[in-house]
């Protein structure tokens, strides 16, 4: 699990450090404060040697990977000359570092200005728009630092653009795998069926069916249909695909199946209240607390909803009892390019919500 996080020059964030992560971590703050960027940084650090993740996080923001200029959007204020630096410490004392650089265009490598040269070479001119380079290093308990480099390049082919991934070093076999799933605010339900299928294979579907019945009492059973479609038996002559059920059910099921799949890993949920009626907020949190504890999953989520926070605290005291220390809320404040993190422990959050003080 993550203990802390440091971000430099990534998207809208210049310099930010978050400490004291717990099992359940919720981020609040005004729009454009950097909440989603924090989640993206965590996502990248879950598997920094996976070159697909930068493409995925752009994709979740509907940013096409096939437009060369879109690589720039990773860099703060589009300043590619300043490297992105992400780092975190895990509870097993492993420290992970990820540096993201623009991919240098090799065609410029041969240019060496001599004494007589009148050509001024500016840094930006040396940088290609074609891709980015990921440099990953980690430090384990015995203080060894290992480095791995991956790069992406956008290639124009007769069939159209393609992304070429070049990994210069293989993933060290001793690197412990950390699982992670990112549920973004505009999520679609297509992955739910596939994940539910795995749960059925392990005969663990009872809890999911039980929660589904709480959300929609008409549901009698869930089953997997063709093409990994999750079907809901509501007592009609044929079962209905999940997509025609309410958004609240889809949301809660997407969370519970993701937690089940990501055992001993990380679940990231952007705008956790999205699509949920107030009456379902407590069910969502109860589901999260129970399943995340069972599967040992660390949760990172963002919200804008005060009802969501109320439901979190109510449920936390019901489910967690003495383990409310597992909960942290962080408010991200941005003033021009300066960032501040307000860390709410459970007592401060409880008092604030009880007194009706704004925390967002």
């Amino acid at each position: 699990m993550f203990k802390n996080l440091k971000i430099e020059n990534f998207r809208g964030i210049t310099d930010l450090e978050v400490n004291d992560f717990r099992q359940f971590n919720l981020f609040v703050g005004k729009n454009n404060a950097g909440k989603s960027t924090i989640l993206e940084a965590i996502f990248l650090l879950i598997n920094p040697s996976n070159p697909e993740l930068p493409i995925k996080i752009n994709d979740m923001r509907n940013i096409s990977a096939f437009k060369p200029e879109n690589w720039d959007l990773f860099f703060h204020n589009l300043k590619k000359e300043i490297d992105i630096k992400l780092s975190c410490e895990l509870t097993n004392s492993e420290i992970r570092y990820l540096k993201i650089k623009p991919l240098m265009d090799s065609s410029f490598d041969s240019i060496v200005p001599n004494e007589n040269s009148i050509v001024k070479i500016e840094t930006n001119n040396l940088i290609s728009h074609e891709g980015i380079e990921l440099i990953y290093a980690y430090q384990s308990k015995n203080h060894r630092v290992n480095e791995q480099v991956s790069s992406f390049r956008l290639n124009q082919t007769p069939k159209g653009p393609e992304i070429k991934i070049n990994t210069k070093h293989t993933v060290p076999s001793y690197l412990k795998k950390l699982n992670g799933i990112y549920i973004h605010s505009g999520f679609v339900s297509e992955a739910i069926g596939k994940r539910f299928g795995k749960i059925v294979e392990n005969n663990n579907e009872d809890r999911i069916i039980k929660v589904s019945k709480k959300v929609d009492p008409l549901i009698q059973n869930l089953k997997l249909g063709p093409d990994n479609t999750l079907l809901c038996d509501v007592g009609l002559k044929r079962s209905l695909p999940l997509n025609v059920m309410g958004g609240g059910l889809i949301k809660i099921l997407s969370v519970i199946v993701a937690i089940s799949e990501v055992e001993n890993g990380i679940l990231i949920i952007d705008e956790i209240e999205n699509g949920l009626h107030i009456s379902l907020q407590e069910i969502l949190w109860k589901t999260i607390f129970e399943t995340a504890k069972e599967y040992n999953v660390q949760i990172f989520a963002t919200t804008h909803s005060s009802e969501c926070l109320d439901a979190l605290m109510i449920t936390a005291y019901d489910i967690c009892n003495e383990n409310v220390e597992d909960i942290r809320l962080y408010r991200i404040e941005k003033d021009l390019d300066r960032f501040k993190i307000i860390n709410y422990d459970h007592d401060m959050l409880y008092t604030s919500l009880e007194k009706g003080w704004e925390v967002r």
Binding site: E307, Y317, D318, L353, G356, V359, R360
Partner: protein, 226 residues
């Protein structure tokens, strides 16, 4: 814009045993002049007194009773608290105003500010942080109730308080909080369509003498909020 105490709207959130209620409409900090009071009575009294003094654009923040100092320190982390220009903090002196001042100094430092040098004064920094301990800076103990009673000492209804005071002296077991009991007696003696059951309601019904010299120190303190 007048001074205001943000009202809370209760929703249905409470735990399954009904232990605690949440669901209050969150109150943002919206003004740059803040007056922090200890409990609802104090805040209602301020609402009336600020109106009397024609001081507006002040946000009155009710905290505590219990855990007053902890909740005071929590204020510094509320959104937009750091935008305040003036922060006036008030509380009761209770049994020892001197030790209360010392503990409040500690709390103000934990908020990240320098405390004022004396009770009833401000630190004259940015933000300008002031501390007033009831009943007045000259008293060694007491509470807002004592100050309110001082404002009506010459009123004919105060005789009821005096008589009550003399009577309970002979009781084997009297009220735990004499000042609050005296306020109840005084308010019970006052005419009106409905009985004011607490100090704050008494203020709203005009039962305290806001012209009294007893309030001079408090008015001086609050006038900084003008």
């Amino acid at each position: 814009m007048g001074s205001e105490i943000m009202s809370n709207i209760n929703c249905n959130f409470q735990d399954r045993n009904g232990r605690k209620k949440f669901g209050k409409k969150p109150q943002p900090i919206v003004k740059k002049k803040l007056l922090i009071g200890e409990g609802k009575d104090e805040c209602n009294f301020f609402w009336v007194l600020l109106d009397y003094l024609k001081i507006d654009d002040v946000q009155i923040i009710e905290i505590g009773g219990n855990d007053f100092k902890k909740q005071l320190v929590y204020q510094k982390d509320r959104p937009d608290f750091d935008k305040a220009d003036i922060i006036a903090i008030t509380c009761d002196g209770d049994s020892n105003s001197h030790s209360k001042f010392q503990s409040m100094e500690h709390a103000i430092r934990k908020m990240g500010f320098n405390p004022p040098e004396k009770n009833g004064e401000y630190n004259n920094e940015n933000p300008n942080v002031g501390l007033y301990i009831f009943p007045t800076p000259d008293d060694n103990s007491g509470m807002l109730e004592d100050l309110c009673l001082q404002t009506v000492e010459t009123h004919e209804s105060f005789q009821c308080v005096t008589t009550f005071s003399e009577t309970i002296e002979n009781l084997s077991e009297g009220p735990r909080n004499l000042s609050k009991a005296y306020v109840q007696v005084y308010l019970a003696s006052r005419p009106g369509r409905s009985l004011a059951k607490d100090l704050g309601t008494g203020a709203k019904q005009g039962h305290w003498n806001l012209d009294s010299d007893s309030l001079d120190g408090l008015k001086f303190f609050l006038n900084v909020l003008k």
